[in-house]
């Protein structure tokens, strides 16, 4: 070996080591994580993206969700949902966006699948109970008065008469929709947020994102895989205690949503009255304390968590077992845990984590 060649080899090896050191220091090749957050749908939304262009992609996803919120926000006078409710029972259909038509199609799917336990026209009942949409900081509207006791039976009956999916008509070809009876109102809650999360996930995929978490007030979409093929570990909040009921260990591209009686409620004479109203009775559903749903899309997870809560643990469990890609964790009215068969291996209950207390 000539002296010149030896020097060259030594130089090259050392150069590579120096480059590796520089890469470690400057973070070249290290995956960048960035997040963007905003108050949308009256809740705190955070999109966390890992990979190249993370910050820009997270921001684009947030912007898409804001765009959908402007269409679905019942408190914003010009929104599709507000215009539909304002024109309820009047002649002439309302021109709506393609997002609203897509939402109506999903609402129809939810209504049919749940046998009416999920009804997007439940709005008048929800408002009567004091759980109507409100976001004074955004809409500039006064907050609903917090109820301290249930409405009287006559008022519940009157509001129930305004509920009914058959009173909604829409036409994809003409991009129009209408509520057929005066006083009807569409409620995008339990559906709109899930739809927006799916759209945000589509934006991220379009931007080439391979890994992200979209968290809209505890409603989640987990895009892609964690490094090394690890599972996503998601804590399920306990409906009565500080802490978790258990942990879901999930693979890539899944949505998780929870409906609980602890989210919006008031207590009256030792009984809890919450925002998940059963359209059939006009009263808050009584079968569960919380229901967490795992599904392939957020819109499914969103409406199913409401529908299964209203159906209760027995009927809800039966329905969940028939749906492909759907799993559910129920905490029944007594605090007992009920889980679908497919969750037995991927839901790890916290020690002493029964939903009681």
């Amino acid at each position: 070996m000539t002296a010149r060649r030896k020097t060259l080899i030594l130089g090259a090896v050392t150069g590579l080591i120096v480059l590796a050191a520089l890469a470690l220091i400057t973070g070249v090749g290290r995956e960048v994580t960035a997040s963007s957050s905003e108050f949308i749908f009256g809740t705190y939304v955070k999109v966390t993206v890992t990979g190249r262009g993370a910050a820009a992609a997270a921001e684009r996803a947030i912007q898409r969700m804001k765009e959908i919120d402007r269409l679905f926000d019942p408190g914003e006078a010009g929104s599709d949902i507000a215009r539909l409710s304002a024109a309820a029972g009047l002649p002439g259909d309302v021109t709506v966006s393609s997002d609203t038509l897509a939402l109506l199609a999903k609402a129809n799917e939810a209504y049919r699948l749940s046998g009416g336990a999920f009804d997007p026209t439940v709005g008048p009942l929800v408002s009567l109970w004091g759980f109507g949409p409100q976001d004074p900081a955004v809409a500039g509207t006064p907050a609903d008065t917090q109820r301290t006791e249930p409405p009287d039976a006559a008022a519940i009956q009157a509001a129930r008469a305004l509920v009914g999916w058959s009173g909604v008509r829409w036409d994809d070809a003409r991009s129009t929709a209408a509520l057929l009876r005066p006083g009807m109102a569409l409620n995008s809650g339990g559906l709109g947020k899930g739809y927006a999360i799916d759209e945000a996930a589509a934006v991220l995929r379009g931007a080439g994102v391979k890994r992200a978490v979209i968290d809209a007030g505890g409603e989640l979409y987990l895009l892609g895989e964690k490094p090394g093929g690890q599972v996503w570990r998601i804590g399920v909040r306990h409906p009565r205690q500080n802490g978790h009921l258990g942990v879901l260990e999930l693979g890539p591209d899944v949505a998780v949503a929870t409906s609980g009686d602890y989210q919006r409620f008031f207590d009256y004479e030792g009984r809890r009255f919450h925002h998940l109203i059963d359209p059939a009775t006009g009263w808050p559903a009584t079968g569960c304390r919380s229901v967490t749903v795992v599904a392939r899309t957020s819109v499914e997870a969103d409406y199913l968590s409401t529908a299964l809560f209203v159906l209760g643990p027995e009927e809800g469990l039966r329905l969940a077992e028939t749906l492909p890609g759907v799993q559910a964790v129920f905490v029944n009215a007594q605090g007992g845990l009920v889980v679908t068969s497919g969750l037995k291996d991927i839901f790890v209950p916290t020690e002493g984590g029964e939903g009681g207390g």
Partner: protein
């Protein structure tokens, strides 16, 4: 001298491997360069190797006003959102939104204590977040 002897020994080993004195001098210089290049990284590993302590961060989204609270220090702390003051209570290593100018206090969801948990007063644009190392649970998010 011991140092001189070990140096001579190294030189002998080097010479047996076919390296001449110039090569060895070069190798020594390059080795020093590599050590210097890695020094900042090694330092960050040593200095930054400690786990991030858990803290409660209270932030007003509209103004960017932010408080960082120590879980070991009990007390009540206020930030001002668009609707007025939101009071956060720290007690026994936990934190919660105690008072806020909104219609439904039940929205806030009670106490938080583990990294990744958060409590929000949406009308007043206030976020209370627990930051720190994920700990044994190592959760990616929480559904509620």
């Amino acid at each position: 001298m011991v140092e001189g002897r070990s140096r001579r020994k190294l030189t002998r080993v080097g010479l047996r491997l076919g390296l001449n004195r110039t090569d060895l001098r070069l190798a020594t210089i390059l080795l020093a360069a590599v050590l210097i290049a890695f020094a900042p990284w090694a330092w960050t590993r040593i200095a930054g190797g400690r786990t991030e302590a858990t803290a409660f961060v209270v932030k007003v989204h509209t103004t960017g006003q932010s408080l960082r609270l120590d879980p070991a220090v009990d007390g009540r702390f206020a930030v001002t959102g668009p609707l007025g003051p939101t009071v956060v209570e720290v007690a026994g290593g936990r934190a919660r939104i105690l008072e806020s100018p909104c219609a439904e206090p039940s929205w806030h969801g009670g106490w938080v204590s583990r990294p990744g948990q958060r409590s929000v007063c949406a009308p007043n644009r206030v976020v209370l977040e627990v930051v720190g190392e994920a700990g044994a649970e190592g959760l990616d998010a929480e559904t509620h």
